[in-house]
Point group: C2
Chain length 316, copies 2
């Protein structure tokens, strides 16, 4: 599946950090950086842009903030090897804290927002564009948004200057038929813009839905090493790159990074296919209750979790 317009965005550190408050050490982040560059991946999303007034460096690792000094530690004294991206945390970032592009190692700022925050997101994205960055807006949790509200959000995004708009399956609730339907809707509603996909794996469909997105003409593809990410995690980067069969990409460096840095975290945190995440995916719910279950001593009491979550619904 070779299409030159396709860009792959690795979110290993940014989305994986949602599972450990970005407590990845420098060796981890450097290895991911080197391996993605070697693998020909287009972008590395290295964390969030958040203000240190909103979050403490004692509780959160460096990649919650992505200070320029943190980025420089990873890049070192050589030329930067891969484009870097950070996700701006809407409402938690002071515009004045965002450096002009000329003073920053970041190439792209992505703004994640819910449908009701689209105006704020456009404002922040425009601000970043004016400072010289590539930008995207990632419209989250679309699986919970009503048609009227979605049309309004897409209409606002269509009028913006933001060139890339993401279809985000935050809750891992979509089947590929949903991706077909929504990809067509995004294409029609956002003429001239590039569409991206960010899928979660609650129903083991993140990779399949990313393929469905590709087939529907979506060109910005999010993935993470071994699928590491919040809850059930994301589309596994190594699967996506194997599928794309584009000579610019290499799988081996990704496998090496998984062996060196991801497998050790597999022993410490539980992303991937677990029944609590599956239940929340089917029910189209935020993963927070499932994550709380997985972090508790009731991790394996999955029938009780099922009963708790389905008490007020016949969806399952």
């Amino acid at each position: 599946m070779y299409r030159p317009q396709i860009k792959v965005v690795d979110c290993t550190v940014r989305d994986g950090g949602l599972m450990n408050k970005w407590q990845f050490d420098e060796k981890f982040v450097k290895k991911v950086y080197e391996s993605l560059a070697e693998g020909g991946i287009d972008y590395m999303e290295i964390g969030y842009l958040s203000s240190e007034a909103s979050f403490s460096r004692e509780e959160y690792g460096a990649w919650k903030f992505c200070a320029e000094s943190d980025l420089r530690r990873i890049i070192g004294n050589e030329e930067k090897k891969i484009k870097l991206s950070a996700m701006a945390d809407i409402g938690r970032i002071d515009y004045d804290d965002i450096l002009p592009k000329a003073e920053s190692s970041l190439d792209m700022v992505r703004v994640a927002c819910y449908a009701h925050q689209v105006d704020k997101a456009i404002d922040l994205a425009h601000h970043c564009q004016d400072k010289g960055y590539e930008t995207t807006i990632n419209l989250m949790a679309v699986s919970t948004v009503g048609l009227r509200e979605l049309d309004e959000a897409l209409s606002d995004l269509a009028k913006s200057r933001v060139p890339v708009i993401y279809l985000v399956d935050s809750f891992g609730a979509f089947y590929s038929e949903d991706i077909d339907t929504l990809a067509k809707k995004y294409m029609e509603s956002l003429p001239g813009k590039t569409i991206g996909i960010h899928a979660h794996n609650n129903q083991q469909l993140a990779f399949a839905n990313t393929i469905a997105a590709i087939i529907n003409g979506i060109n910005y593809l999010d993935a993470t090493l071994y699928g590491i990410g919040r809850g059930a995690g994301n589309c596994p980067l190594e699967l996506l790159i194997s599928f794309l069969k584009n000579p610019k990409f290499k799988v081996r460096p990704l496998i090496d990074a998984i062996e060196q840095e991801i497998l050790p975290w597999r022993e410490k945190i539980d992303w991937g296919y677990f029944i609590p995440y599956m239940v929340n995916g089917v029910l189209n719910q935020h993963p927070r209750t499932a994550m709380a279950c997985m972090e508790s001593e009731n991790k394996n009491k999955i029938t009780a979790y099922f009963d708790q979550m389905t008490a007020a619904t016949d969806l399952l």
Copy 2:
């Protein structure tokens, strides 16, 4: 996705047993039996039909043989609660060992074969039909079969009396586009027959490919509890049943069985998404080398495994 013709076949004991030589205790098999019945699943494939002359009861558990006395221990003195199936091990079963249906608790015998064994498989399936059983033929490893050979096999199967023919992705190598292509081919080549799907999860596509099969009109669907099965395992039954949203099915008993009997095995055997299985899936290879790696002390040496498997190919 309600379609009355859809039949779901659980292969938990049969395919899961490939990971532990069917060393499931009676409590395990009884719980699976009760839970599948309560969940409204159409068939439980409880093991293989093999001759005790070919395999030893010391090495293999009861479900390698499915003797009538073993089946009776599970069913007990009550009426049978769910249709039972067994897979006949071609070349390892003496025809005379197969009881007439009237003396057996089995309802269905499925014959798995490679393309070059189709004639033998048809002969065995006809024999079972003549003894009163429902039958299917499961044509394995289609991802490695050339077009001429596949056409010949399908042509032979079309002429047989066997009513259900399975499309089997033994190596977890197929993308949903392959399923689209092959489902259409099977439909056209096998007029009047019912088509089934048996998918493996090497690339996290077993569930997605099963959905693709459903969309293409395939009506016999194989799955296992929590995806337990050889190598990367199978389509997870709980996901499939959630998707089908047919009032005859219930998910809760499946979750309960997973909690009680499958999670404890999760600590002992490694089915599911692991890089060695992923590599074999992408390379369209039998899982045996990946299983050997996973059972060795080199389980986490995935880069070495990658190098070994890709030394003679540029597929990855």
